[in-house]
């Protein structure tokens, strides 16, 4: 890489009050390069990204583009210099067409333009991001989430962005949709765009980047050539310590004692009624991409999603919960995949979140005078490695990893028999991930039956004792202990019927 970097940041620091979000960060990217940016939550990734994209002018240090010192006061100034960012939360307007969304700002568009003109103008950009089969007049909300991400990028390209920042573009996507994003990134780089790729998914980082910038505690740990390091080395640099094994050991054997029997469950998103059992003290993984129905099955066991038919048998009782509150009464806890939507009360203190499902446990005759609740929630917090000193802080102030611990930990308050978790570690940094896995294993060892659904292939391979695979709403197969192998599972959740010759 002898060429001059198109963007170069050196010795940048940024403080917010007493917090030093960035201490000394260096970053550079060449033309047509894919640069990975990784680090734990709180390492300063998002601060760096905000500085690069002009959202945060209040930093110290040098910022050069093509060797020229620049100072952006607003994001639009950065955009004029060809820097654009695709945020995790999309900024598309759902009920407008693809083409209208691409030319939303109206730049380059004549005063009067029909949808057809816009559609024609949008075509090349859509082709560039790989949406060749999408009609530009389609409404955005008819596209999948992955396709919407691609449209968002197409919009950035239409404004002649030369440096694109993709912040966790695949966080909410399944395996197949992620692949489209990765293909797009590679295509764009081949066309001479520079891409800053921010992700928690290390496998993706290794697949597409040439170089990786690692941030730890606000300090950049030097640029690594991707081909020179492996995952363990990368994680070691990220954490500043060796992560011997992120996943706890599996159980020795699976008990023969079925804890919960699921019979003929048939929610929307699943093609045919599904039946299976989960045993006492095991971790059962439901593996499938988005749209496979795995998440829907979990939700319907918990009463959060309606099932057309079926029943559950738990502790000798047969029933079908019609709402989460009925499931909670039967000691079934369900942690959804979207903690901000329905997992946390972001504006309320942590201790209120922790005790929210079990108000009767902390009160007498409906009255609650604090002390019992304090002890109760402190114990929960300790068990889940949440900082007890922060109990009175709003949960919205926590980092993603700690939020997930609260969202999951609150369910221990009802002393569940069955714990259902959809995407246990979405948007969670590596350190917190490993803690969550360890806790799930501890709970299982205590006799709680854990069923989780995940699109993360590492998680589904190494965490559970048993895996059931799903593909497009159908149950495909079941694997136990040492028979859980990544290639088999990948095959079963992407192409179980040999429809394509991959």
């Amino acid at each position: 890489m002898a060429s001059n970097p198109i963007l170069k940041i050196s010795k940048v620091s940024r403080t917010f009050g007493a917090i030093q979000a960035l201490k000394e960060a260096n970053f550079e990217i060449n033309e047509g390069e894919i640069m990975g940016l990784v680090g734990e939550n709180g390492a300063g990734k998002s601060t760096l990204v905000k500085i690069i994209s002009g959202f945060d002018p209040g930093f110290k240090g040098s910022y050069q583009i093509n060797g020229q010192e620049v100072k952006f006061e607003t994001p639009s100034q950065a955009e004029e210099s060809g820097i654009a960012i695709a945020q995790q939360e999309l900024s598309l307007i759902p009920n407008m067409s693809v083409a209208e969304n691409i030319f939303l700002t109206g730049a380059k568009v004549k005063k009067f333009a029909t949808l057809n003109t816009l559609a024609k103008m949008a075509r090349p950009y859509l082709n560039e991001v790989g949406l060749t089969d999408v009609d530009p007049t389609t409404r955005i909300n008819l596209l999948s989430v992955g396709e919407q991400h691609l449209v968002e990028v197409a919009r950035l390209i239409s404004r002649e962005a030369k440096i694109l920042i993709l912040d966790e573009p695949t966080a909410a996507l399944g395996e197949a949709e992620s692949r489209r994003i990765l293909e797009m990134v590679e295509r764009l780089a081949a066309n001479g765009k520079s891409i800053i790729y921010v992700s928690h998914r290390l496998d993706e980082i290794f697949k597409i980047t040439k170089r990786i910038t690692i941030l730890r505690d606000g300090v950049s740990q030097g640029v690594q050539q991707t081909k020179d390091i492996d995952v363990n080395k990368l994680v070691e640099i990220m954490l500043g310590r060796e992560l011997a094994n992120m996943f706890p050991a599996k159980a020795d054997h699976i008990s023969n004692d079925p804890k919960i029997e699921i019979k003929d469950l048939w929610p929307d998103g699943v093609l045919e009624p599904v039946s299976f059992s989960a045993y006492k003290g095991e971790i059962l993984g439901l593996s499938g991409q988005l749209g496979s129905g795995a998440g829907e099955i979990l939700a319907s066991i918990a009463g959060a999603l309606k099932s057309r038919s079926g029943s559950l048998t738990l502790n000798g009782e047969t029933f079908l919960p019609k709402s989460p509150s009925q499931a909670i009464k039967k000691k079934i806890a369900y942690c959804s995949s979207d903690r901000k939507k329905d997992g946390l009360f972001l504006g309320r203190p942590i201790f209120e979140n922790l005790t929210s499902p079990a108000l009767s446990a902390i009160s007498n005759y409906g009255f609650n005078f604090g002390a019992t609740e304090q002890d109760f929630s402190k114990n929960l917090a300790k068990e889940f490695l949440i900082d007890v000193r922060r109990m009175f802080d709003e949960s919205g102030l926590l980092s993603g990893g700690n939020q997930q611990k609260v969202a999951l930990g609150k369910w221990l308050s009802i002393k569940p028999d069955v714990l259902l978790v959809n995407e246990p570690t979405r948007g969670v940094d590596v350190g917190a991930k490993s803690e969550i896995y360890q806790r799930m294993r501890d709970l299982a060892a205590r006799g709680i039956t854990i069923i989780f659904a995940s699109t993360d292939i590492q998680e589904i391979t190494y965490l559970p004792d048993r895996v059931i695979t799903f593909y497009r709403g159908m149950m495909i197969d079941e694997h136990r202990l040492e028979n859980i192998q990544t290639p088999t599972i990948l095959k079963e959740i992407t192409d179980p019927f040999n429809e394509t010759n991959l």
């Binding site: 009050g17 509150s325 504006g347 009175f392 709003e394 919205g396």
Partner: protein, 346 residues
């Protein structure tokens, strides 16, 4: 454990923000109180008299009680009950009908308990019905605006738009104009209701649920607290508060008419606006999940003080309603600023 250590570096600022948010609104309100008070002492005749302060709290009591009811609705994330004055209107008509005619049976005419229970029952029914529709997913604004029309219409229809008089002495005088230990009954009611409401919100499961559901309906549902029953209960609480205020006011006036709570009520025009202003000025979040009835009570006293001052300064009702409107706008701006500050790190 590195994440735990990392997190523990943040609490100073997080706590600071929390403290800041909790105390600043209160501090602003209290300093405004002080400014008003000092200004009153030096520039307003007859301000610093016990009679005047009793009058202030008495005014505050009427819309304060309704505002405490509305606070439950707002805190639980169900926005506002816009049929406040209409609910009060039909309950007032019901009470007066009971006092004047005994609902057609002369034996019951003038029976305070029957009239009171009838008025409260009307409040419960209208609250349950509106709460039911909101709980089913109806938009609170639309549902309660519809409810407003229906309630007002029924009251006007039933009373033929006439003033219903009942003559003194009657059994409700103690509530309307009576006093106890030097304070009017309505003031005592306000104090007791304010204390009870604060205890319910702070120290009962129901109170906690109000905050949780208000902070996040979806998470509330997931943890077993559904907005359906919540909406019914909070709308009922609010409507019953309206009914109680209506009874006290009608008992004071010895008469009722369906438009009593529209223009000529209290001192500052429209009852609904006044009550909503009270909730807002207290610094309760419109989106729910943050606030308290204590704030509302302070808000009621603050508005009553401002209004009282304007009366003593000789302003007529026009400028005084403008004053209430300005207070709503001001409180929304202040709250918006601090609510944003607290989420800076999200």
């Amino acid at each position: 454990m590195s994440t735990v250590i990392q997190e523990s570096q943040q609490p100073i600022s997080a706590k600071f923000l929390q403290f800041y948010k909790d105390r600043t609104l209160l501090a602003i309100l209290l300093s405004l109180f002080a400014v008003m008070f000092v200004y009153g002492i030096f520039f307003t005749d007859n301000y610093l008299t016990i009679t005047n302060f009793k009058a202030i709290i008495r005014d505050a009591a009427l819309y304060g009680i309704m505002a405490i009811g509305l606070t439950f609705v707002t805190l639980s994330g169900n926005f506002f009950l816009l049929s406040l004055k209409e609910t009060a209107s039909i309950c007032g008509v019901t009470f007066a009908m009971g006092m004047a005619t005994g609902f057609g049976s002369p034996d019951l005419a003038g029976n305070f308990m029957v009239s009171l229970l009838a008025a409260l029952a009307v409040g419960v029914v209208s609250g349950v019905i509106q709460g039911y529709f909101v709980g089913m997913g109806g938009n609170p604004i639309v549902v309660t605006l519809g409810g407003a029309g229906i309630l007002y219409g029924i009251g006007a229809w039933w009373s033929d738009n006439l003033v219903i008089n009942f003559t003194r002495p009657h059994d409700a005088e103690w509530l309307g104009t009576g006093s106890f230990l030097g304070l009017p009954s309505i003031t005592w009611s306000f104090i007791l209701i304010a204390i009870a409401a604060e205890i319910v919100l702070r120290h009962t499961n129901f109170g906690r649920k109000v905050y949780l559901v208000g902070a996040n309906k979806a998470a509330g549902k997931a943890t077993g607290h559904e907005n359906f029953s919540m909406a019914i209960i909070v709308f009922t609480i609010c409507s019953v508060c309206c009914a109680f205020v209506a009874v006290a006011f009608v008992a004071q006036m010895d008469s009722a008419q369906s438009n009593y709570f529209s223009a000529e009520f209290g001192s500052s025009g429209d009852m609904t606006i006044l009550v909503i202003a009270t909730v807002m000025v207290g610094g309760n979040s419109i989106m729910g999940g943050y606030g308290s009835t204590l704030r509302t009570s302070l808000g009621a006293i603050f508005i009553a003080m401002v209004d009282n001052m304007m009366v003593l300064q000789g302003f007529n009702s026009g400028p005084r309603i403008v004053g209430v409107g300005l207070m709503i706008v001001f409180s929304i701006i202040v709250f918006g600023l601090f609510a944003k500050g607290s989420r800076a790190q999200e």
